[in-house]
Amino acid sequence: MADKIHVNTTINDTEVDFLCESRQSLLEVLRDVLGMTGTKEGCNDGNCGACTVYFDGRIVDSCCVLGVEAQGSTILTIEGVASPDGLHPLQQAFLEEAALQCGICTPGFIVAAKSLLEREPDADEARIRHWLAGNLCRCTGYDKIIRAVLKAGEVMNQGGDARKATTAAGAGATDQRDVYND
């Protein structure tokens, strides 16, 4: 077996040390070395966005980053999106809008959408569709995902509680909210 390299990095605000082979992608390190399986493997060649994480403040496909490149960097994964107080508005909106079916693409969509809404909380549908072009979903047909992101953007503008959203995007979501959360 090849020599392993010691890497020191910060993941979800926690300093992390790990050993990995040079050939292991950041995605493999997250899932197989660190056991953080929230980040998903889809295509493993930079097309589908299922493995999206923040890498030094920008979103990247973690299948196209080496684990050893994480030395000294700051990473955010889906596991770092919710807070101890509850789900992130995006996560809440995905539930309420039923914006997932099989769920494999969901962590990537939420991490990618988070990076957009943090920059542009007023992003409109066209902008959201453009920003999420690097995330593929084979179940939903995208409309529910776009509605959820629009709703989360509105919630974030209102101060963060998904239950206060009253947009057209959120209309009809009441039943699902009850099912999932009460």
Binding site: S25, D45, T52, R58, D61, L66, V68, A112, L132, G134
Partner: protein, 291 residues
């Protein structure tokens, strides 16, 4: 993925030495969006991967009206299209840098890597050629400058010798009455490889009615991106009107030598190159008139 030695030198001299020691068995890692995928796919076997992201000269850019743009080879696309000075002075480069891949890819993928990867469809390459960009290369025998139109030697091949590294790309300072534009055709809205692409640049005279000189480059219609020299030469001295645009687009189609493949047919690609070149010229001319 195969095993390899990973090194991350923090200066150019060390990187050249590390590359030269292994010759063709060494590759550069910048954005990784091509090289890591190719290694995983078994396209080549290497002994050493040299990460250049810690080398200052490759990771910075300077852009000014007086000195033009000097773009470190490892600067990612997003930093290019987000920079307001580049947006103002080089909209033709922003056209291509902002449509490669999705946001995740643009956060890592580099213009330098796009050039070195030498894909016939590489979207930044026509933009660079029409803007008279020069590749600044450093190697064991010193530095040399290579016009971008001479950089790619075949599909996936370039003229770099063992140990040579693309350090930066320089685009000359923009002139008055100058405009450039790039566009491509893909069947989707985003995230695809060009069926055909085209870039055009024009320099107008002070009346803004006549073309002093211009360049056209086309991609995905040959083994490398093609600098359409004959069509470009036709631009000089012509009126900047639809008749000229038609004539030059027809001449550009003659420079194309595409193949049939899953993305498109020969006929479709030649037709597309004509349409795209017309549109690229129209926008280049209107940008030249505004600028």
């Amino acid at each position: 993925m195969q095993e390899f030695e990973y090194v991350a030198p923090n200066n150019l001299e060390d990187a050249i030495k590390l590359m030269a020691e292994k010759g063709p068995k060494a590759k550069i890692l910048a954005g990784g969006t091509d090289v890591l995928v190719q290694m995983r796919g078994g396209r080549f076997q290497i002994d050493r991967l040299v990460n250049v992201n810690n080398i200052p000269e490759l990771n910075q850019f300077s852009c000014s009206e007086a000195d033009g743009l000097t773009l470190g080879a490892a600067v990612p696309c997003c930093e290019i299209y987000e920079d307001q000075t580049i947006q103002k002075l080089y909209p033709g480069l922003v056209d291509s840098a902002s449509l490669i891949g999705g946001i995740q890819i643009q956060g890592r993928a580099t213009v330098g890597g796009n050039l070195c990867n030498a894909a016939p469809s590489g979207d930044n390459i026509p933009s660079l050629i029409v803007q008279e960009a020069v590749a600044i290369v450093a190697g064991p025998n010193g530095r040399r400058n290579i016009p971008v139109e001479e950089f790619c030697s075949g599909p996936g091949r370039n003229v770099l010798q063992d140990g040579e590294i693309l350090v930066a790309i320089h685009i000359p300072a923009p002139k008055a009455n100058y405009g450039a534009h790039f566009l491509r055709f893909i069947p989707r809205n985003e995230m695809d490889i060009a069926v055909a692409n085209s870039a055009a640049s024009v320099l107008l005279d002070d009346s803004k009615q006549h073309i002093v000189s211009g360049r056209i480059a086309i991609g995905s219609v040959g083994p490398t991106v093609i600098f359409a020299k004959d069509a470009s030469a036709l631009l000089a001295g012509k009126e900047a009107n639809e008749a000229t645009i038609e004539e030059v687009a027809e001449a550009t189609k003659k420079a194309a030598s595409p193949i049939n493949d899953m993305r498109g047919t020969i006929d479709q690609r030649i037709h597309l190159v004509g349409v795209l070149t017309k549109r690229a010229l129209r926008t280049a001319i209107s940008r030249a008139r505004e600028g």
